[in-house]
Amino acid sequence: MSGKSFFIDLSRCTACRGCQVACKQWKQKPAEKTANTGSHQNPPDLSAATLKLVRFKETAVGGDFKWLFFPDQCRHCLDSPCKLASDPVIQDAIVQDPDTGAVVFTEKTKGLDINLVRPVCPYDIPRVDPVTKIMYKCDMCLDRVRSGMLPACVKTCPTGAMNFGDRQDVLAMAAKRLGALAPRYPQAALIDARDVRAVYLTLYPVRQYHAFVQAAEAAPGNFSRRSALALLGGNAPRTRT
């Protein structure tokens, strides 16, 4: 199965948040009651009502000031830890669409424990609705894609940061873009391209953008969080290999 993939080119993202709003509009997700807490990032985090979030971070790379943006979303892993961890509890509460490869949370996720599902995600994506207990995340706009349309976030992106298509085409596009940027940005990289269907192109070390850009083996902060959970006697998180 080759399926579909996103290519998210951070070198072109201007944090206009068109993707964040388009996602909410298509999914008819309610606005959260937010406040300005000293950052432009709002809502502050992903939630059951916010499946796509542009993260803003002021940082320094090699002494140079950078303002980095990270349009965060589910990566739609080829072998998805959330599904692998939850299938033994409720089979197919989390399904994988055979045509596109989209990983989709169903209503059956209300029978799952978020403390099982969220920690195994290398990207810290799953969220639960506090009332219905159903879990939510990006579903690749499967309804749109099945109708031959682009995901809402991709359709609305004005700069070409968000791209979507057949996996081999998208990977080729990503590789070409990386090649074009590499001379000027020696640290540029495609993140977890072999394992996920939302492939990010970063210009700077991943930790500069956000704690959960790359899978755990390269992101020690995530690992320690999971170790802590294991120590508390919860379900031992499945380690990806």
Partner: protein, 800 residues
């Protein structure tokens, strides 16, 4: 825009100054990034490091309000290092013109200044003419009285050190920007400048843009692909609104609004129609009588031209009718009624407390808007006692743009037809219907009761509806214009009702009508604005011209002044991105600025800047109210007592008012920080549409103030805490954003802190969103346009 959105991709360098397109014109960044992909350099000059700066190859900070120092420095740098495009400067600009002996400049003042009137007698700012009445020129550019030498002397003061001292921009950053952008001065390169309100909302706003024009003409960047002076408009149709005569000083198509001293059409034509004695100057405005006649006939087809002209309202000579002046008169009780139509002055206008007080002095106000807003509800706003306010407010709900059919003219002058989307909600109506019905009522009242000056009401052509509903197609046909009488032009005879094919065929004798000459050709045998055809010739494809997609004024010309993109023989200076090219007997590519052959044809050729009487780009611009060359002045509120260029601290001709609401702070320890206002992607204008859009409000929920980490440390501010921002005119609360994206400036040897606030919030909704930034701004304006200085003023910021 001289150019258009797609054309940004053709630039070798993009200077973004006084605008933040990544945030405020997000789609434009598609083209900025295409230019970057092709090797173009993106330069951002701004007081703050914004989302735009993240994509810039070079970012240079400057203190709000010091732009003219920066641009003056760039002009000096280009001249001092001989980086200008000499052939272009000699052949296409007025650099070679000889200026009269009486013109002088000394210590910040041009000749002819009258201190009492705060105005110039501009008669000394004129050129020397020969016996035929043609301006004398020195193509060698060596005559000490030629514009080029005067300009060189004028900007000699603007050296990098002084510019750095006053702007707060490090010298190294200045040089990086100057070097990079001046690199487009070679014939084969082009650079574009993208600006917005950050450049215009100053008491030197017009001269800021003039200074950019000087840079672009020195570098040969006007008329070429990837060049130009490009105003990024702040509303989807603000270009269209000024085209259609929204401003007090112009009728549709930028015809001057008549003053009382021009009581008849003959006088108007004699006094406003420029004359050139140079046979090689097209002097396009010599056609003005045709355009005003066609406009009068569109309004009053049944009247003789003189009678129709007599119907037009006349301005009192010398009186300013711009926004700030109108609200000053209102504040003094000078108006009974007010239509606030599609606007929210209580939040959008400078010095909002004054505006809100002014609204309370009216007998009535009609607010036409989508939602409840700070203007319609001013009487129950903060500090107001409804029992003491007599103003009767009527609210007329109108429908939103996507619910109605009609055209929108974008920044690139493209008139784009839109079809109606969803049906209007409730009893809301299109603005066209509201004004259509309103006028029918007024006319009926006149018929019943009579009234002052009946003719203009009784005789106005109001044939813009079908079946009692406003018909945008009828209005568009009238704007295009048509023949009223049978007329033979050349070998073709036009019958009454035939659409005017283009403005060259409009007539001064009353045989044609056209509601707006620059839109003539937009609605002929078909609605040109509705075209969606991507066909291009291979030559047009090189620059993405798309001439069959919608329609652009004038006559579908996509890049104006394009005769300056070719050498005198008609060959493009930039063969890889040609705009037009002379094919021996005709032009190919874009629609040229007139059909004449290139300049090398000494008999039939014409100079490229056809809208200027002499036909040349104007380094020396004798028409402006504050001087023929842009000159540095501080904002009317500023943190310094002097600047390095003259002893004149402020623009001596700036628009100012007297009264209790007009206090200003200069070097005032109560208000030590420079403040600027701006927009964010998530909100639009005063936020009336976006604050009610939950997903947008969620992303930017509250008024904020951005402060540097240094200032936060100094004052003990914490992220997210409520701070009070106050000026000499008002105060508001704002959530604190502490950021590395603003750094303190060193200005004239002292540390100056800069802060910034958005202007999208208002007390009506949401209740915890904050109020308008304009509570803090002052009612002072540019002497040419009256635009308020809301981009640079002084505040204090303290813990609440």
């Amino acid at each position: 825009m001289t150019n258009h959105w797609i054309d940004i991709k053709n630039a070798d360098a993009i200077l973004i100054m006084g605008s933040n397109p990544a945030e405020n014109h997000p789609i434009s960044f598609k083209w900025v990034l295409r230019a970057k992909d092709a090797g173009g350099v993106v330069i951002h000059v701004d007081p703050r490091f914004t989302r735009t700066s993240t994509q810039a190859d070079i970012y240079a900070p400057l203190r709000s309000g010091s732009d003219l120092g920066f641009l003056g420095g760039m002009i000096r740098y280009i001249l001092a290092n001989n980086l200008y495009f000499k052939d272009y400067v000699v052949n296409y600009t007025n650099a070679s013109f000889i200026v009269g002996d009486k013109y002088a400049f000394s210590d910040g003042l041009f000749s002819g200044f009258n201190e009492d009137k705060r105005a110039y007698d501009k008669s000394s700012w004129s050129f020397v003419k020969d016996g035929r009445g043609v301006v004398k020129k020195d193509p060698s550019l060596t005559d000490p009285r030629c514009v080029f030498q005067l300009m060189r002397a004028h900007y000699d003061r603007y050296d990098v050190k002084k510019v750095s001292e006053i702007c707060g921009t490090p010298e190294a950053d200045l040089l990086k920007v100057f070097q990079s952008f001046a690199g487009t001065g070679t014939p084969e390169k082009s650079g574009t400048i993208l600006y917005a309100m950050g450049q215009t909302q100053h008491t030197v706003g017009v001269q800021n843009i003039r200074a950019m024009t000087l840079v672009q003409m020195l570098l040969g960047n006007i008329g070429v692909a990837g060049g130009g002076i490009n105003a990024l408009r702040g509303e989807s149709n603000v270009q269209g609104s000024t085209d259609q005569g929204l401003l007090f000083n112009s009728l549709p198509g930028y015809l001057p609004a008549p003053p009382a001293s021009m009581p008849d059409l003959k006088t108007y034509n004699d006094k406003t129609t420029p004359v050139s004695k140079d046979p090689r100057s097209a002097n396009w405005w010599s056609n003005r009588p045709k355009y005003i006649a066609s406009l009068l006939k569109a309004m009053y087809p049944g009247q003789e031209l003189e009678e129709a002209y007599a119907y037009l309202p006349k301005l009192d000579d010398g009186k300013d009718y711009s926004w700030l002046s109108l609200f000053d008169v209102m504040h003094n009780g000078g108006f009974k009624g007010f239509f606030a139509w599609g606007q929210n002055p209580a939040a959008s206008g400078a010095n909002a407390n004054k505006t809100r007080e002014a609204l309370a002095k009216l007998d009535w106000m009609v607010n036409v808007n989508l939602f409840e807003n700070e203007t319609g509800s001013f009487w129950k706003g903060p500090g107001m006692d409804p029992a003491k306010i007599k103003t009767e407010v009527f609210f007329l709900p109108c429908c939103v743009s996507i619910e109605k059919e009609g055209s929108v003219s974008n920044s690139g002058r493209w008139m784009q037809w839109r079809y109606a989307g969803p049906k209007p909600m409730g009893q809301s109506k299109p603005d066209g219907d509201i004004i259509y019905e309103l006028f029918l009522k007024i006319r009926a009242l006149y018929a019943k009761e009579g009234g002052a000056f009946e003719g203009p009401i009784k005789n106005l052509n109001w044939d813009v509806a079908s079946g009692n509903a406003y018909d945008p197609h009828k209005a568009a046909r009238l704007i295009n214009g048509f023949f009223l009488k049978e007329k033979t032009i050349g070998d073709k005879t036009y019958k009454p009702g035939d659409p005017a094919p283009a403005f060259a065929l409009l007539q001064a004798d009353g045989s044609t009508c056209s509601g707006n000459w620059i839109y003539c050709q937009s609605y002929t045998d078909k609605n040109m604005a509705a075209r969606r055809d991507r066909t291009q010739t291979p030559m047009q494809e090189k620059i993405g011209l798309y001439p069959s997609w919608s329609w652009a004024w004038p006559v579908n010309r996509r890049i104006i002044y394009n005769r300056a993109s070719v050498d005198p023989s008609g060959k493009p200076y930039q063969p890889d991105k040609p705009v037009i090219e002379w094919a021996g007997d005709k032009w190919t590519g874009d629609i040229p600025d007139g059909p004449w052959p290139p300049m090398a044809d000494v008999e039939k050729g014409r100079y490229p800047f056809i809208m200027n009487a002499e036909g040349f780009g104007q380094f020396f611009g004798p028409g402006r109210n504050d001087g023929p060359f842009p000159e540095y002045y501080e904002p009317l509120e500023c943190p310094v007592a002097q600047h390095p260029f003259s002893k004149r601290l402020h623009n001596p001709t700036a628009l100012v008012f007297k009264g209790p609401r007009e206090e200003r702070a200069v070097c005032d320890p109560r208000f030590p920080f420079v403040c600027s206002t701006y927009r964010v992607t998530e909100h639009w204008q005063t936020g009336v549409m976006t604050r009610y859009t939950p997903w947008l409000l969620e992303a930017e929920p509250q008024m904020f103030v951005e402060v540097s980490t240094e200032l936060a440390r100094l004052r003990g501010f914490k992220p997210g805490e409520k701070l009070i921002v106050e000026s000499a005119r008002g105060k508001l609360w704002a959530a604190c954003i502490i950021t590395e994206r603003i750094k303190p400036f060193t200005v004239m040897g002292q540390t100056v802190h800069q802060v910034g606030i958005p202007w999208h919030f208002g007390w009506v909704y949401p209740k915890d969103g904050g109020d308008s930034a304009n509570l803090l701004t002052s009612s002072v304006g540019d002497p040419n346009t009256g635009i308020p200085e809301t981009k640079a003023f002084m505040v204090n910021v303290r813990k609440a």
